[in-house]
């Protein structure tokens, strides 16, 4: 492997890692605080991409599509939380798996009904269409670089919010001991709704950024959902820091696994990595509970 190919693959890996972090952040907080397994998180990723594609088609502006799609996805997340999922926080994980599995079916068909089965076009903004010359003679697509930058900024912002603000303190309190946080006067219901909507918005952001690279189509969120679950489990459920470390690990590991190993092994590499880490630390790298 040449140096420039190595750098390119490394950037690809970090970019995938950043996307995974945006997905896993919502998953891990929702699970950590509300004890809810949300398999429908991938549907929100899909929703973000479709909203962005529609706004893009109407306005022709990708920059305008970003905030609108993120806001709409957060809204959808909030509505689903209030209408359905709220009743399932105290139910068994089996019930949660079933209800979110049912939601996936509903979301997929809703998207088919509204947008059809043909992939919807979503182009990156003009300014980011070309590629950038990096050191060492590496050419890298500007849009992918922008994804990396946005993801890193969001990760930093999220880290700041969670560890240095009052609402972040509520979130952490809720994640480590829900009844105690509630007893000390934290409005846990409100925190639940906020966290779920924020997680949905982040998933939507990840989806709309992935749209121009992959394709905006039904079921696009499911492969990345599985990777995000792996990230969540490796990082330790409920831990933002764990999600960040694990997301980069999985992003880079998956990218290099596919390049360096034979296909049958390369596609299994990250699952092997997960098995090895869990055999060593069953609660993940940064366990939150006990």
């Amino acid at each position: 492997m040449t140096f420039s190919l190595f750098i390119e693959q490394l950037l690809n890996g970090v970019q995938l890692g950043v996307m995974l972090f945006l997905m896993a952040a919502g998953l891990t907080l929702v699970f950590g605080i509300m004890n809810l397994i949300n398999l429908a998180h991938g549907s929100l990723y899909m929703a973000g991409a479709f909203f962005a594609a529609t706004v893009f088609q109407i306005s022709g502006s990708f920059l305008l599509a970003v905030p609108i799609a993120v806001a709409l996805t957060a809204l959808v997340g909030g509505v689903v939380e209030r209408a359905v999922l709220r009743q399932f926080y105290a139910r068994s994980h089996l019930d949660q798996v079933l209800v979110t599995f049912g939601l996936i079916l509903v979301f997929n068909d809703a998207v088919r009904l509204i947008w059809g089965v043909v992939p919807v076009p979503l182009a990156p903004p003009e300014a980011l269409a070309g590629s950038v010359h990096l050191f060492g003679g590496v050419d890298y697509p500007a849009f992918r670089l922008a994804i990396l930058g946005v993801g890193a900024l969001v990760a930093l912002g999220l880290y700041f919010v969670v560890s240095h603000t009052r609402i972040g303190m509520w979130i952490r309190a809720g994640a480590s001991n829900r009844p105690m946080a509630s007893a000390l006067g934290v409005d846990v219901e409100l925190v639940f709704s906020l966290v779920f909507s924020a997680g949905a918005g982040l998933a939507g952001l990840a989806g709309l950024m992935a749209g121009p690279i992959t394709a905006v189509q039904v079921g696009m969120g499911e492969p990345i959902l599985i990777l995000a679950l792996v990230v969540t489990v490796i990082g330790g459920i409920g831990s933002i820091r764990g999600a960040f470390v694990a997301a980069l690990m999985i992003g880079v590991g998956d990218t290099f696994g596919r390049v360096l190993l034979p296909p049958a092994l390369g596609s299994m590499a990250i699952f092997m990595l997960m098995a090895a880490i869990l055999a060593w630390r069953p609660k993940g790298l940064f366990p939150v509970h006990g």
Binding site: R91, H93, L103, A264, S267, P282
Partner: protein
């Protein structure tokens, strides 16, 4: 769940609690007759699908309903069984050898044990890792393992990769021809009956009692000196082998297997079938699988967008019908445990 704890042998008790499944099996036995009478060969295929799905869902429910283990990898485990059959039949047709050592075969009398062994081994190996954790971690890890199996078979270019693998040789069962649809259907139905009998005995045995105790309170089980991990691992391996049997029959009936059959939504479907029928009984998932397959076959006739109503049905079941459809048939049969928590 009186029957599941009671000592085996109470024939009258067994008859009293299991009349619905005897009725269902008896009705299923008439599917080929019905298909002939209506001159509709599609019906036999449909019911073959239902019977084989029922086998996978019953296998899943052994760990789900009685062991409290919410596994999302049973689609993958069934897939191992399916690929075991397809790969060995491929080598038989080709005249080559699997891994350069084992000659292929097209006899299900050999293929089925091989498939069950492979799937059971797969369940045990993944189980060693997955069972170190519990609750939500277990669910997510089994889901990840399911995808691992999926990508593994996608990457196997030699055996068709993404496109799947066609079975070109003529499958037999101990020398008998099973290529007729109705014959194959009865083979599957007999296998389902054998599976139901096996699991109802296991659930009623000491092993089954300990497994259920593990689901209810693992700490107490440990406290009385029984190591739960061993029992859960054994249960997962047995369940995996049974799923492998379902997969083997699936591949044989279709003469084809593709990775899409082991994507994770299939695993989710099995959970839906188990819960739809009722997890509190060994045979509950049979009812769930039949209803599932009928809905899947006939909903698309009314509307192109049938998945959404189906998803709503799933959500409503979770909200309202907590004991599954068997609750509607036999009054209040409480679910044994809450599952994942």
């Amino acid at each position: 769940m009186a029957d599941t704890i009671a000592k085996p042998g109470g024939l009258s008790v067994m008859l009293r609690v299991s009349w619905p499944i005897l009725l269902i099996l008896a009705l299923l036995a008439f599917a080929p007759t019905l298909s002939n009478a209506l001159d509709n060969p599609f019906l036999v295929r449909l019911f073959t699908r239902a019977v084989i799905f029922a086998m996978a869902a019953v296998a899943l429910n052994f760990v789900l309903g009685f062991g409290g283990l919410v596994s999302l990898m049973h689609g993958g485990l069934a897939g191992i069984g399916a690929y075991a059959v397809a790969i060995m039949a491929f080598h038989d047709y080709d005249g080559s050898k699997f891994l350069g050592v084992f000659p292929g075969t097209s006899d299900l009398a050999i293929l089925i044990p091989v498939a069950m062994l492979a799937a059971g081994l797969g369940a045990a190996l993944t189980g060693i890792v997955a069972l170190r954790t519990s609750g939500a971690y277990f669910i997510m890890i089994t889901l990840a393992f399911n995808q691992m199996l999926y990508y593994f078979f996608v990457a196997l270019q030699q055996y068709g990769g993404d496109d799947g693998l066609q079975i070109l040789s003529n499958l037999t069962l101990a020398g008998f021809d099973i290529s007729r649809r109705a014959t194959f259907y009865y083979v599957a139905l007999v296998a389902l009956c054998a599976e139901l009998f096996f699991f109802s005995r296991v659930v009623a045995s000491r092993f089954g009692t300990i497994l259920q105790a593990c689901a209810q309170n693992e700490r107490r089980v440990t406290a009385i000196g029984i190591p739960p991990l061993r029992y859960k691992l054994a249960a997962l391996a047995i369940s995996g082998a049974a799923a492998g049997l379902a997969g083997a029959l699936w591949a044989s009936g279709q003469q084809f297997v593709s990775p899409s059959e082991l994507s994770w939504d299939r695993s989710g479907d099995y959970i839906v079938m188990a819960v739809l029928g009722g997890t509190g009984r060994v045979w509950g998932p049979v009812l769930g699988a039949v209803v599932f397959v009928l809905l899947e076959a006939f909903l698309p006739a009314w509307t192109q967008f049938w998945q959404a109503p189906f998803g709503v049905v799933v959500i409503l079941i979770v909200v309202f019908l907590r004991g599954g459809l068997i609750d509607l048939m036999g009054g209040s049969l409480a679910r044994p445990t809450g599952g994942g928590r």
